[in-house]
């Protein structure tokens, strides 16, 4: 299938582009297989806009006389407008864009065609392997082992080929446990807290069903993480009623009679489809131009978005408290174990583990707890807040996690090696990217699509020094603390950097950030000068002493 077949009109002249914060500018529009390109012929500097078709959520067409207008709403929440002279041209371009932005097959997406213009120093596809994580782990404890039971993805299709499980559980037992958990997602190690040797596991719901099925191997697995005589906590991200009802459909929860050492806590996190509605309402409120304070606040409240933030932060704090304060092991799961479960485990690690607050540590966290753990990115990020079509699997689960990280970042501005721009960049690439990192729903699909061979990894690009410098937090000071965020509603703010990005000019705020970085850079240069001068002085004094000797 040739892209050319889908492009009715590859080029249009005298098109006027309206972009947020820019004056309307006239130029030429081009459509390629993957991009919408606009370039203006201005005297001072040629302005170009390159938009990935995969970044387009929905388009609207309007006609006034023979002038057609296409309004493009993007997944990164930007809205741009193109005025195209000529009704037929406008219609052709609109239908071309629609066709190109709604391609079904993953292999037609840009990452398969992208050729990097930079030198690849490090292959991001092999930067964060679980084997490397395990090596780090085995230097502090020998209670765990790496299991390859899933190497053909036959035991759990949404898990990676290797997982970390308690040493005392063999592969045979894992196979049995997989039959007892929704989607085969048996409990695996998510995080090991070096301070006190406590573990956080994650899984999906147990398939107890109405008959109260049990699986002795499952019980043995999670009990293996308990210290003798100690209790563990199961954090179920569904309300009790929902967990109980799940039994009627074959699911359920860990029953006290079979898991006597585990105490179950229900900490409700909204299901992904509700989250999508929330997202849509919030973006709509942010775009509301009615200038009315009451309307804004009541629409903000009605979206419930900030409530979701608070819920997730609270659940993550709870998991972290159980591990750090109660010195107990924790098992986290919801129903499928692919959405709220991963939100809680990854956020809890931000709270507990200083390594996750470094740039590489955070990248490793995203790779481990989201990509390898099988969060269905392809489904969840297929559409964003402007989509017209019926939503089924789409939800901003990852965005909610990124926003919670930002909330904590705001409360602890010196504790993160990366800055806000880093988080926004990850949000953008999850929805539309030239890199293959966020394609596919799990490692199984990624292997089948041969992504590591056919596409470039986001990490290969981000971790280059030129790029990395944009994402560093100048105030970062490494600390080894557990950081406890406030979850009081008054402390939580709307993430302007994402939701109001295109509505209010943030030029000054960005400039302020650049200025801060410059101040710190200058300070380091001066410090280096001082040190050099001190050394010179010391040498001169030493020489003088030598000369003084007869």
């Amino acid at each position: 299938m040739e892209f050319a077949e889908l492009i009715k009109t590859p080029r249009a002249d005298n098109v006027v582009l309206h972009c947020p914060f820019h004056l309307a500018v006239e130029g030429t529009l081009c459509l390629t297989g993957h991009h919408l390109i606009f370039s203006s012929r201005r005297q001072d500097n040629a302005e170009e806009l390159w938009l990935l078709h995969s970044n387009i959520d929905s388009i609207e067409k309007r006609f006034v006389g023979s002038l057609g207008t296409i309004i493009i709403k993007c997944k990164d929440l930007r809205i741009i407008q193109l005025d195209i002279p000529g009704m037929e041209e406008c219609l052709n371009i609109a239908s071309s864009i629609e066709a190109l932005s709604t391609l079904d097959s993953v292999t037609l997406m840009y990452p398969f065609f992208y050729r990097p213009m930079f030198e690849v120093l490090e292959d991001g596809w092999s930067s964060f392997l679980l084997e490397q994580e395990f090596e780090l782990l085995s230097s502090v404890t020998n209670e765990w082992r790496l299991s390859c039971v899933n190497k053909e993805f036959s035991v759990c299709p949404s898990y990676p080929p290797v997982v970390i499980v308690p040493k005392s559980i063999d592969d045979e037992a894992l196979r049995k446990v997989a039959l007892f958990r929704h989607g085969g997602r048996f409990p695996v190690l998510s995080y090991y807290h070096k301070k006190n040797g406590m573990a956080m596991l994650r899984s999906s719901q147990p398939l107890t069903g109405t008959n109260g099925r049990r699986c002795k191997e499952d019980e043995k697995l999670i009990n293996a993480t308990l210290r003798s005589g100690r209790r563990g906590f199961v954090i179920d991200t569904r309300p009790l009623a929902v967990a109980q009802q799940a039994r009627a459909k074959g699911g359920g929860f860990e029953q006290e009679v079979h898991y006597p050492q585990w105490r179950r806590i229900h900490k409700y996190i909204e299901r992904f489809n509700i989250l999508q509605e929330s997202f849509i309402k919030l973006v709509e409120a942010c775009n509301d131009q009615s200038h009315n304070m009451d309307r804004w606040l009541s629409k903000l409240e009605a979206s419930n978005w900030l409530t979701h933030i608070k819920e997730l932060l609270t659940a993550a704090c709870l998991a972290a408290q159980c591990i750090d304060r109660e010195s107990a092991s924790v098992l986290v799961h919801g129903s499928e174990g692919t959405d709220s479960t991963l939100q809680v485990t990854s956020l809890a690690q931000i709270i507990l583990d200083p390594r996750c607050r470094t740039i590489r540590g955070f990248e490793a966290l995203v790779v481990r707890e989201w990509l390898q753990a099988g969060h269905p990115f392809q489904q969840r990020c297929a559409q964003s807040a402007y989509s017209n079509s019926k939503q089924k699997w789409e939800a901003p689960v990852f965005l909610l996690f990124l926003e919670c990280v930002w909330q904590i970042h705001r409360q602890f501005p010196c504790s993160f090696e990366f800055n806000e721009q880093f988080l926004i960049m990850l949000f953008e690439h999850a929805y539309a990217s030239q890199f293959g990192t966020f394609l596919g729903n799990n490692e199984n699909e990624r292997a089948k699509l041969k992504l590591p061979q056919k596409t470039m990894s986001l990490w290969s690009w981000v971790n280059r020094p030129e790029e990395l410098s944009r994402f560093q937090n100048p105030l970062y000071e490494a600390n080894s603390l557990v950081i406890w965020p406030s979850v009081a509603p008054q402390s939580l703010q709307l993430w302007e950097g994402v939701f109001l990005r295109w509505n209010r000019p943030s030029k000054f705020l960005e400039e302020a950030e650049v200025e801060r970085i410059n101040i710190i850079k200058y300070n380091k240069e001066l410090q280096a000068k001082v040190n050099a001068l001190r050394r010179q002085l010391a040498e001169m004094e030493a020489n003088e002493e030598v000369q003084e000797e007869p």
């Binding site: 209010r504 302020a512 200058y522």
Partner: protein, 325 residues
């Protein structure tokens, strides 16, 4: 930019030729001016019954009147109390918090004040027209508008020294009744009649400006917090009394008390209040008054509720670096 109080037109439509002459001479031949009345059109009309009123078109033909209703007095104090109550309960659900934030209407007051100040500034800067601002007494919302408009228009008001001058001129000497307005704050049980957080509302608006224009004010949030504290309770005499008459005649404030400005401007103190990112901006700064752009001033309203230790440390670090450089 002129300010006054309401004309005492009264039910008999009194006139004062001297007042008309004063306002007349300010405008050139054929020039138009704007009167910004901080009362609603209805309230201004009703004021005539009690002896007040508005400038009638027939007597002030060159002046066009605009009404921008700004809440003051009891309503503003209630708003303040409701907001502080909402902030003091960290165990609220997000829904309840947002609902209470909304029903306090405080952010609406901030938006209204900034909008009106922008209007005055626009008339002066964009329409090249002179402006007269007044409400009823001319001691509350009037001063709020004129002071904010000057911050928008005049870069010299945005320096530390200029800002102090602005406060001295447009609030203290202009006769804002600090003693009455700042007698009680948000937690008092006594429901007085004269308390109202106009000055706090002004400081909140200044904070919104500093957030939107991080380079343009020579001073930082710490100064605004210090001013808020001193307006309500102070070791210094600067905010005492209600007007210059009381200060000089009744209380002899200059002779018997120390000035806040003298203390703030000492080198050891001053550096705490400076904005390390300041760089002189000669332009007019137009704030966004979209509701989405206006935020709760956490540094003030959540000051004792959420630990800001890390944020303070971050700020101190920046200051240290700038000084070190």
């Amino acid at each position: 930019l002129l300010r006054s109080s309401q004309p005492l037109t009264g039910p008999n439509r009194r006139r004062c030729r001297e007042d008309e002459k004063l306002l007349g001479t300010i405008l050139d031949e054929g020039e138009r001016g704007f009167i910004i009345d901080t009362r609603s059109a209805q309230a201004a009309k009703q004021a005539r019954m009690s002896g007040g009123g508005t400038e009638p078109k027939s007597s002030y033909p060159q002046w066009r009147r605009l009404h921008r209703a700004l809440d003051r007095g009891r309503q503003l104090q209630e708003s303040f109390i409701r907001l502080v109550e909402a902030c003091s309960d960290p165990s609220l659900s997000m829904d309840r918090w947002l609902a209470r934030l909304d029903s306090s209407r405080w952010l609406g007051h901030v938006k209204a004040a900034l909008s009106t100040a922008c209007l005055a500034a626009q008339c002066l800067d964009r329409e090249d027209s002179k402006v007269l601002v007044h409400g009823a007494e001319g001691t509350d919302t009037t001063l709020l508008v004129t002071a904010l408009a000057q911050l928008i228009l005049d870069p010299s008001c945005r320096t530390l020294e200029g800002f102090q001058g602005l406060l001295q001129r447009e609030w203290i000497e202009a006769g804002h009744p600090f003693h009455l307005r700042c007698a009680r704050s948000a937690s008092s049980h006594a429901r007085g009649k004269q308390e109202a957080p106009l000055f706090l509302l002004f400081l909140d608006c200044v904070w919104q400006l500093s957030r939107q224009f991080p380079f343009s004010l020579e001073f930082g949030e710490q100064l605004l917090l210090t001013l808020f504290d001193n307006a309500y309770a102070s070791a210094f005499g600067t905010f005492l009394c209600n007007n210059e008459k009381e200060r000089s005649v009744l209380c002899k404030v200059k002779e018997s008390t120390h000035s806040l400005w003298a203390w703030l401007n000492q080198p050891e103190e001053k550096h705490k209040y400076l904005n390390p990112l300041y760089s002189h901006n000669p332009l007019v700064i137009w704030p966004s008054v979209e509701p989405q752009s206006i935020q709760l001033w956490q540094g003030l309203f959540l000051r004792w509720i959420r630990p800001s230790q890390h944020l303070d440390e971050a700020w101190a670090e920046i200051q240290k670096l700038v000084q070190g450089n």
